[in-house]
């Protein structure tokens, strides 16, 4: 007889679900395989494959540059507009893509949810991590552009990974929230594209936060992307950090993560019955 390695108790779900992140850690290999699978499948049977990961930010930057530097003329300080736009866009495109992918992740993996047990959190998180792949290409283009425009980085650039990580936090938070809501309410499918559009306009992607007055800046910072994008650009281009804005955004992000996890955990047990 093999040695018994574990004991499991199966009980009705309680009112206060525990986070149980240890369980997610136990299944980390599945998280890895699901992430890799998502990336592989995304570009299979496409004509130009991963080139899409490059084209998306480049083309959008080009369009923004034509519109906003020729006609609207935002003051982006000593940073060239294409560089300014691209730095915001790669973070935004990552958040946008990963939230879209994560929101439909359960519906696309119905057979997994109804046929196998694993911590459900893995599904939307894998979708988010899969989108990281594209972000890597975006960052490479950004480095190339910075060299092209002759940007000399300051020591502040060492903080840039922190802001990418915070961006990942935003993507994970909204990803798990909408993935859970989408299982219960298929309205999400219709509402989400619209929400993402509004969110994009409300985030300092193609305009600088300096456009807003001091007071409004803090209100806008409730949108975690405001502080993240602002801080990311400061770290890249060596401009001073706007710590109050970053602080409000980080606090907002933490709150958002907690709410998302709570919603997810309270709905998770019924996924297999509802989907």
């Amino acid at each position: 007889m093999t040695e018994i390695t574990e004991t499991t108790t199966i009980e009705p779900s309680g009112h206060f679900a525990s986070l149980d992140l240890g369980e997610v850690w136990k299944y980390r290999e599945l998280l890895y395989f699901l992430t890799v699978r998502d990336i592989k499948i995304r570009y299979k049977q496409t004509l130009i494959g991963v080139t899409w990961a490059v084209l998306q930010p480049v083309l959008t930057t080009a369009i923004f540059t034509v519109i906003f530097s020729r006609f609207a003329r935002f003051d982006t300080g000593n940073v060239a507009y294409p560089l300014f736009a691209l730095s915001g866009l790669i973070i935004w495109l990552f958040v946008h893509n990963s939230v879209s992918l994560a929101s439909s992740s359960f519906v696309n993996n119905t057979n997994l949810v109804t046929k196998v047990y694993f911590p459900r959190l893995i599904v939307p998180v894998a979708a988010t991590l899969g989108a990281l792949f594209d972000l890597v290409f975006g960052l490479l283009i950004l480095v190339g552009m910075m060299i092209f425009f002759g940007v000399t980085p300051t020591s502040q650039i060492l903080l840039s990974p922190l802001f990418v990580l915070l961006g990942l936090g935003v993507a994970v938070a909204f990803g798990i929230l909408f993935s859970a809501l989408n299982v219960r309410f298929r309205d999400v499918k219709f509402a989400l594209p619209f929400l993402l559009q509004v969110w994009m306009i409300a985030s300092p992607i193609f305009y600088p936060t300096s456009l807003l007055s001091e007071k409004w800046r803090l209100v806008f910072a409730l949108n975690p992307l405001t502080g993240i994008l602002d801080g990311f650009r400061s770290s890249l281009f060596g401009s001073p950090f706007d710590w109050p804005v970053i602080g409000v955004s980080v606090a907002s992000l933490i709150l958002l993560l907690l709410v998302s996890l709570f919603v997810f955990k309270s709905m998770e047990d019924s996924f297999a019955d509802l989907i």
Binding site: T2, T8, T9, I10, P12, V116, Y117
Partner: protein, 411 residues
Amino acid sequence: MQVIKADNLSKQYVLGSRQPNSVREVLTGLLKPAEPKHTIWALRDVNFSVDDGERLGLIGHNGAGKSTLLKILSRITKPTGGKALIRGRVGSLLEVGTGFHSELSGRENIYMNGAILGMKRAEIKRKFDEIVDFSEIEEFLDTPVKHYSSGMYMRLAFSVAAHLDPEILIVDEVLAVGDTSFQKKCLRKMRDVGESGRTVVFVSHDMASIVRLCDRAIALNHGTIVGDGPASDVVREYISAGWGIKSERDFTADQKPPQSDTVRLMKMRMVDKQGETNGSFDIRDKIGIEMTYEALRPGETLLPNLQIFNQDRVHLFTIHDVASEWTHRPKDAGVYVSTAWIPANFMAEGSFAVNAAVVTYTPTLNVHFYATDVVIFDIFDPMTGDTARGDFGGKMEGVMRPMVDWETRNG
């Protein structure tokens, strides 16, 4: 040692139409007074325990709660009430090829599927060659599985599952699909798992495979346990409950037993070669149908007559006493016991019902009584290789399964 223990396990479902599925329905639901919810108990206070090394079969009609029970034990869904304790690593196979993606190659899918079933990467790596060998698809390993035939797909999917090494294996009717030549291998693998001391919980509609693979069975009906015991007993009880009969029947206390003024049916039972009452027969053993009747009027040449039906109500054959000393011999008044012996290795596996009659031919044909669905019995194939099944492990078609002689010569 108990590896599974279920205490008052219950699961309630709210029926689909009442469940709000959109934000609008939730909002309008808040304004309206609460309607009584339509709920259904898929499982209700189910109690059982399974020891290590046991092979447990779950049987029951559609909607009896088998799948719900499997889903709770595999932690896919939570119970509404009660609890279950599981000791050991659980591998559950409710579907073959879960998580397979058509765009990925066979190799990639092996890793993916293995991870989904709970295998560690190192473990998959170690067993990789074995899995590929078992699946017989080596040359297509790097082809996307969308180009596979359905047979190849099933073989690959089952191979991964078969190499899962859990302490408790939970299997739904996955063996019912796939090509039949591969099924032998799969069934043998499942038997190996059971015989190596690990625990198997198996759900199937195929009663013959339950009897073949499991040593114990639990019958569910409307979410509650209605039978628990040795597999062949539970299966027979389950089928006889469906037919409303058993393998032994006593008419002596009946107000109106099957009878005429010439003969009266007293008892019928199924007997094994030792002469014991037994409703479950190894296909390699002869099957006795024993009829006890009382001749009420002396001097009649009474001929017992039996008709055998299978589960699909196909009338397989009729037998009557045509070749004994009693065939043409009148009986005195009194009680007689006649036994018909159906030869071994003759009928297929399954459950069968027996109709009984006693007839006389002189002066003309006279049927004195004709009782339908009197007793029931079942036949199982122990899969030892020395039956007409040979090494075939799948579902063998046909209502008869005789052992016949074969002759082959150079033509």
